[in-house]
């Protein structure tokens, strides 16, 4: 059931109390992505009481939601109006919240074609390290007044402040969706994807599970039918994409640590020990491997990408370490926006 409650005053009070007593805060929503990043020692700040859809007018293509709102509730409201969040953010657990989605910045299979969570962000409200709730961006598609702090917050893991509200761009659902399975090996699939990527084919998801290429086609009836005709293969149950996104495919059940490699889609098959699963048309590779973090990162870096460890506690820096100048500016930005270092200290990197 949907609950509409503005708890921002209580959240602000907790932040101010933490500022006064120099207490670190561990910001949490549904705790569905707690396994990501490093451990944070701190007093829990639970956003879930601050929930509800603040405004939604489907013809404006914008929805404004409080951070503690369950993601399922947001998705249900959009679904009812025939719209969707194109980024298909993974939930990973039932209670996943909108704030957690934004803070983790993870996107689903549609990412290469429709953008990441950050690409949908139009505005945010943020409780800052100065104990104020401020508003950045807004509910309009185009807005270049001031620095783009709202998009900066996407994927910042709560290290720059407490996100209390977000306005997101939404889009109509496609009129037609079908999924296909094409038998071919990974190298051939990557080559085909690079070729098809240069043509106006309505692909909205592409994954290779080790055996076959899985494709999703989305668009108008005509374009989807034409692409289906051209690409061949057999029909695939579209539930595959949800299973992939929520990491429920058998691949993810293996015991070895899970790594996410973000690489250029056309870099070819990566030679690494362990099992791989390709998503994002080749731009995201899931790896189940006992290999050393250093080796995995070296392979990812050599092709222009990076690697994140998705298994909690497996390595000290789950996020790939930053180059020296970048790390220095990360520290300076953190010091400026959270001078007392109370927001999720160490969640992304030990130094911030």
């Amino acid at each position: 059931m949907s609950v509409d409650h503005d708890a921002s005053a209580a959240l602000l009070e907790q932040v101010n109390h933490a500022l006064n007593s120099s207490t670190a805060l561990r910001i949490q929503g549904g705790n569905s992505k707690a396994f990501l990043g490093r451990n944070v020692a701190g007093e829990v700040l639970d956003t879930r009481a601050h929930r509800g859809i603040v405004s939604y007018d489907p013809t404006e293509l914008v929805i404004t939601v409080r951070a503690g709102t369950p993601l399922v509730e947001l998705e249900a409201a959009l679904d009812e109006a025939g719209q969707m969040l194109t980024c298909e953010a993974p939930h990973f657990a039932e209670g996943a919240t909108v704030g957690g989605m934004l803070a983790a910045g993870l996107s689903g299979p549609r990412r290469p074609w429709s953008g990441a969570v950050r690409d949908l962000v139009l505005g945010t409200r943020l409780i800052t390290g100065f104990g104020k709730q401020l508003r950045f961006g807004g509910e309009v598609m185009k807005n270049v007044a001031g620095y783009d702090l709202s998009r900066l917050l996407a994927g910042s893991f709560g290290c720059l402040g407490v996100i209390t509200e977000v306005s997101l761009k939404v889009l109509p659902k496609p009129r037609q969706t079908i999924s296909l399975r094409l038998q071919m090996d990974a190298a051939c699939a990557l080559q085909k994807l690079a070729e098809w990527g240069q043509q106006p084919i309505p692909i909205s998801a592409a994954s290779h599970d080790g055996q076959a290429l899985h494709l999703r086609l989305e668009g108008g009836e005509g374009s989807v039918a034409a692409a289906r005709e051209r690409l061949g293969g057999e029909l695939l149950d579209s539930a595959y994409w949800g299973e992939l996104n929520e990491q429920r495919l058998p691949f993810f059940a293996a015991a070895a640590p899970l790594w996410r490699l973000s690489v250029p889609s056309h870099c070819g098959v990566l030679a690494l020990p362990g099992e791989q699963l390709i998503d994002w048309g080749g731009a995201q590779r899931w790896l189940k491997s006992d290999a050393d973090a250093a080796l995995i990162r070296q392979v990812a870096t050599e092709v222009g990408g990076h690697a994140t460890c998705f298994s909690a506690g497996h390595c000290d820096s789950p996020l790939q370490p930053l180059a020296a100048p970048l790390l220095r500016y990360h520290r300076q930005l953190k010091a400026q926006l959270d001078p007392q270092g109370i927001f999720n200290p160490g969640r992304m990197y030990a130094e911030i």
Partner: protein, 499 residues
């Protein structure tokens, strides 16, 4: 209250000895082109916002990143302000020089370094023109989507610095949505990569933060943009309406029908007449408003969508709906829209282009407000509107040779932007704040928000040497701006926090 740099409210600038700096530049960078004569500096005294001019102390025209790096190191040591400039087409004065600063012109960085069809990206130097990227990608049937109206001349570095838009943003996004990676130099001349060759990068999304930061956080030296496959077909519908309200509602109806047009533009009667007089685009001069709706994609879908949109437009009360018969007519319909600014330039000695955004539902009320303000000021306003994404470009007609008209146009412009803020919009959708909208920033943001912006700046440029005075007003300026408004009567928005 003047928008030119005023040390009293914008903060003191370092005192720089021009001759000593020139001598040092020549000694350290003997092959760097430096302009210092008054007559050589003249062409650089303004950007696309030509009503405001300041002669820079020196202009430098480097050709290699190492030169920019050495220059920044020197300026950092000596405390010399640096203003970056691309093609100089910006409309908000973002590249307006400082009398006590160096103007760093990046126009000579004009090489396309790589077009990679398999990876669907292009890696270019910052001085490469926006349109040149799409031209270089054309043999591969790919293109770069953001298309600001100055795309024939504007440079990609400037596009990144301003987060430039265009007429296709609703469907294809702004500059920020079409970037993979930028190479920057910090104020200290240190190289840093933001974003990556993959779709994301570890750490904070500094690529998003730098996009639209108006040269205040670093200097862009290389840009990697995404390329998209060219849509198979594009068709455009021209719909006429006997009221702007009906046209505005029709826009919402198209979206409610689940259709996202590639472009959706609206023009009012004054703009229609000016365009028709200028290039005979075939627009109906009797209409109070027209909508141009472009649908692009795969043939079969576009045909379906054209029929759907036609039905929606007729239902919404369009007096006429015309589908461009062929590519030539489609180009003609668009030529009208793309020439709207120069067309208005023909019916008035001068015009002042605004750039506010509003939630689309507020359009009728805002247009009424603009027409009331226009009558009050005695200056005509033509309206051109990226209707799909709520970005308005009211064009204020005036004559700078008539004493006081520029000031009245500025005042009217300021009031229009404040109206946009009042209905939940923004003072700038794609042109940037620069110096032009520095005062209106005080209406959109309160002192705590501005303070946080200054904190961001301090993280990257603590000494404030990169493009001083642009984008974010000082609290001092806002205090004076607020006080001035009080003198003229009551505060425009008493509910907004003041200081």
């Amino acid at each position: 209250m003047s928008i030119l740099y005023d040390e009293r409210v914008d903060g003191p600038l370092p005192t720089v000895d021009k001759l000593a700096l020139l001598a040092e530049l020549r000694a350290q960078l003997p092959d760097l082109d430096v302009l210092h004569d008054q007559e050589d500096l003249k062409p650089y005294e303004c950007d696309g916002l030509s009503a405001y001019r300041t002669t820079p102390m020196l202009v430098v025209l480097p050709e290699r990143v190492e030169q920019v790096q050495a220059l920044l190191k020197l300026c950092h040591q000596r405390g010399v302000p640096v203003v970056a400039r691309g093609a100089g087409t910006g409309l908000s004065g973002g590249a307006l020089p400082l009398e006590q600063g160096i103007l760093l012109v990046l126009a000579r960085f004009n090489k396309i370094l790589e077009v990679n069809p398999a990876g669907r990206f292009a890696r270019v130097q910052p001085g490469v023109r926006n349109l040149a990227i799409s031209q270089a990608a054309a043999p591969h049937e790919l293109y770069y989507a953001p298309d600001p109206s100055s795309q024939i001349a504007c440079s990609i570095g400037g596009n990144v610095a301003e987060n430039a838009g265009g007429v296709h943003c609703l469907k294809y996004g702004l500059t920020v949505h079409n970037l993979l990676k930028v190479e920057v130099l910090t104020v200290e001349g240190e190289r840093m990569t933001l974003g990556s060759d993959a779709l994301d990068a570890p750490g904070f999304d500094l690529l998003a933060l730098f996009t639209g930061s108006e040269g205040m956080l670093g200097i862009i030296t290389e840009v990697t943009v995404k390329l998209l496959p060219k849509p198979q077909v594009a068709r455009v519908l021209l719909a006429s309406f006997d009221s702007v309200e009906k046209a505005g509602r029709a826009v919402g109806d198209i979206i409610a029908a689940g259709i996202i047009p590639g472009g959706l533009e609206m023009m009012d009667n004054l703009a229609i007449r000016a365009v028709e007089d200028f290039i005979q685009a075939g627009y109906p001069v009797e209409a109070e408003a027209i909508l141009l709706c472009e649908l692009d994609g795969v043939e079969a879908d576009v045909q379906d969508d054209c029929e759907r949109v036609r039905a929606v437009l007729q239902q919404a009360g369009a007096t006429e709906v015309r589908l461009a018969r062929d590519e030539a007519e489609r180009v003609k319909f668009w030529a009208g829209r793309k020439n709207a600014f120069p067309a208005v330039g023909r019916i008035s000695p001068d015009y002042y282009c605004m750039d506010g955004t509003i939630p689309r539902r507020e359009l009728p009320g805002v247009l009424r407000g603009i027409s009331e303000l226009s009558a009050e000021c005695g200056l005509r306003v033509a309206n051109v509107f990226h209707a799909g994404d709520g970005n308005m470009h009211p064009l204020i007609l005036f004559d700078a040779n008539q004493p006081g008209e520029l000031e009245r146009a500025e005042a009217l412009g300021g009031k229009i932007l404040e109206l946009c803020v009042k209905v939940g919009g923004s003072i700038t959708g794609e042109h940037g704040v620069g110096r032009e909208k520095i005062n209106q920033m005080c209406a959109q943001f309160n002192s705590d928000e501005l303070t946080l912006f200054h904190a961001v700046k301090a993280a990257f440029d603590p000494s404030g040497l990169l493009n001083p005075g642009k984008n974010i007003p000082t609290l001092h300026r806002c205090a004076e701006f607020g006080a001035m408004h009080v003198h003229h009567g009551q505060l425009p928005f008493p509910d907004l926090e003041r200081f």
